[in-house]
């Protein structure tokens, strides 16, 4: 049951071969056994999970089960959960019990999914290694001396180690795709605006987007279908009809199920900078895609190299504004001693935020300050358009874009903590996708040196989620990388 797909779990629950309470207990016991090593969860909600599982069993018995009723999952601790600790990986919110549910959390509760707990993350989703958590780093289940990626490192590690079959995440610059790649699982970030940001603690609002982790594309499709949809309470939520993201997932129709699919390979992603073991795994995966009938064509994203500098203006600018709400007045940490209001703010924020969060707030404050706005923020927004236009030009020649998710496999814990810029550069292939607002997915495509997973990134045009998932599904029908599990 631990390694079962959602389809298999659904069948077992519906046939009463296992109850939801038994299933939740199975996963909770795994969390209890492995979390002391992995540190993937900040909060485990055993009582809440058992109660939700009982309700799910009643629903199944009454014949009212939906696709996720009785299925255990974990939420990234960026999503507000009513009555449950919601820390966002920060000391600032280390005692914050949310008075309300995020939209995503309400949807999954209504679907009857069973929340096991809240997963560890880089503080306020700022990071690529999960080392920026007030609650300590998450360990990569494939090698516990290595990072799992970030910022949704806890969710990725939990799914990879089968502490939960599926988990939610968020992706502002790669925070779903990069940890999925480093932990050998599948993760999708949909088009900006598809998943409601209501109750998802804000980092950079024009880039933040909820996403889904699972072992396979099929599992991600089921979770995304339940998470997505218009929400009036998020002003950037898109008013579109509900979609079944699994609708194009089907058994292979022939030995060339991807015939006609044109995969674009950006010249810039295959230039220097990619490690040899990553390149080898990616090339092998592309060969597999060609065997499945797809054709590959070289495309160009000439401005992609500017994505990191543009992102490190736009995201910190938005963060400096979003995080101004943490002032020690309405919620969050308040310093014990201060002389006046100004000192209360400054001390509460100095004590409550970690080093990387402070750095990004300072960068954002500077680029938005008087006299610098045009040179930084406006210039970055113009580059953002050029980057988005590059993708549109590429999609004239191809249906999906493929490349590595990250330039290297997971690095050692502590290796890049003293050098923020080196850490930022590790997101070279994922960030441009957020700036353009496009959907992106990472799926496992092999192993590099040291038996560390390599991720392949697929990028789709706007609202191309179903196609990305179906394409990946065909690859996963012909390969077994997504079935490999860490020892």
């Amino acid at each position: 049951m631990i390694n079962a797909s959602l389809t298999e779990l659904r069948t077992a629950l519906d046939a009463k071969r296992i109850s939801s309470v038994e299933l939740a207990t199975l996963f909770l016991d795994r969390v209890a056994a492995h979390n002391p090593t992995l540190n993937a969860f900040i909060t485990v909600d055993r009582d809440g999970a058992i109660e939700a599982a009982r309700a799910a069993d009643a629903r199944i018995a009454a014949g009212n089960a939906g696709p996720l009723t009785g299925i255990p999952l974990a939420h990234k601790d960026v999503f507000c959960t009513e009555g449950l600790l919601t820390t966002c990986g920060s000391k600032m919110l280390s005692t914050f019990v949310s008075p309300y549910d995020a939209h995503v959390v309400s949807l999954l509760k209504a679907a009857g999914a069973v929340n096991l707990g809240k997963t560890n993350m880089d503080e306020f989703a700022m990071g690529s290694s999960n080392e920026n958590s007030h609650f300590g780093p998450v360990k990569n289940p494939w090698d516990t001396t290595r990072i799992p990626g970030g910022s949704s490192g806890g969710s990725a590690a939990a799914v990879a180690a089968r502490l939960a079959p599926i988990a939610t995440g968020t992706d502002t610059g790669g925070s779903v795709r990069q940890p999925a790649g480093h932990t050998g699982i599948t993760g999708i970030k949909p088009t900006y605006g598809v998943v409601s940001r209501y109750g998802m603690i804000a980092y950079a609002s024009s880039l933040d987007q909820g996403g889904a982790f699972g072992a396979s594309a099929a599992d991600c499709a089921a979770l995304l279908t339940a998470m997505a949809g218009f929400d009036e309470r998020d002003s950037t939520s898109l008013e579109r009809p509900a979609e079944d993201y699994a609708r194009e997932i089907a058994a292979p129709a022939s030995d060339k199920p991807l015939a006609g699919l044109r995969i674009g390979l950006p010249r810039e992603f295959f230039a220097e900078g990619m490690a040899g073991d990553v390149r080898a795994a990616v090339e092998t995966a592309l060969e597999q895609y060609r065997r499945l009938g797809a054709s590959t064509v070289e495309v160009s994203l000439p401005n992609a190299k500017l994505a990191i500098p543009a992102y490190y203006v736009i995201a910190p600018a938005e963060a400096s504004s979003n995080l101004s709400r943490f002032d020690g007045v309405r919620y969050g940490h308040r310093a014990a001693e201060y002389r006046d209001l100004a000192e209360m703010y400054a001390k509460s924020r100095a004590e409550g935020f970690g080093a990387e969060v402070k750095r990004r707030i300072l960068v954002g404050t500077y680029v938005l300050s008087h006299g610098y706005y045009d040179a930084y923020y406006l210039q970055a927004q113009k580059l953002r358009r050029l980057i988005a236009q590059d993708f549109q030009a590429a999609f004239q020649q191809c249906d999906v874009i493929a490349g590595p998710t990250s330039p290297t496999t997971a690095w050692a814990i502590g290796e890049k903590t003293d050098d923020p810029v080196q850490m930022y550069l590790s997101d070279i292939y994922t960030i441009a996708v957020n700036l353009a607002g496009l959907p992106g997915l990472s799926h496992p495509c092999g192993f590099g040196a040291g038996n560390l997973p390599v991720g392949l990134q697929l990028i789709g045009d706007y609202f191309g989620e179903a196609r990305l998932l179906a394409t990946t599904h065909q690859y996963q029908q012909a390969t077994d990388w997504h079935l490999r599990r860490p020892a």
Binding site: P99, P309, V329, D340, E343, Y366, Y376, R384, R385
Partner: protein
């Protein structure tokens, strides 16, 4: 571009983040590293390019100006550091 110590202190003041004296130089060095990366943007000629603030270039949706949320003052104030009689308490700002 290189930030001076005074600029770092000014930004920290604007951001309402206290910087301990011993942390100023290390913060300045790290910020200068980040701005070194950001400066790559300036090499690109973006004359005539419209800034992009939303991935689909959509205007933000407006809603009717009516109350939609129930009064949950108690629930929201339960997570506040200090409240009294339904009000948030802060240090006195007017003498």
């Amino acid at each position: 571009m290189s930030l001076t110590t005074e600029q770092v202190l000014r930004i920290a003041g604007l951001a309402r983040i206290e910087l301990a004296d011993g942390d100023v130089e290390a913060t300045r060095a790290k910020l200068n590293g980040i701005f070194g990366l950001i400066e790559q943007m300036q090499a690109v000629d973006t004359r005539g390019v419209e800034p992009m603030s939303h991935p689909q270039d959509l205007a933000q949706r407006l809603r009717t100006d009516v109350a939609t949320e129930a009064d949950r003052r108690e629930a929201f104030q339960r997570v506040a550091p200090q409240t009294e009689a339904g009000l948030y308490l802060v240090p006195k700002v007017i003498e």
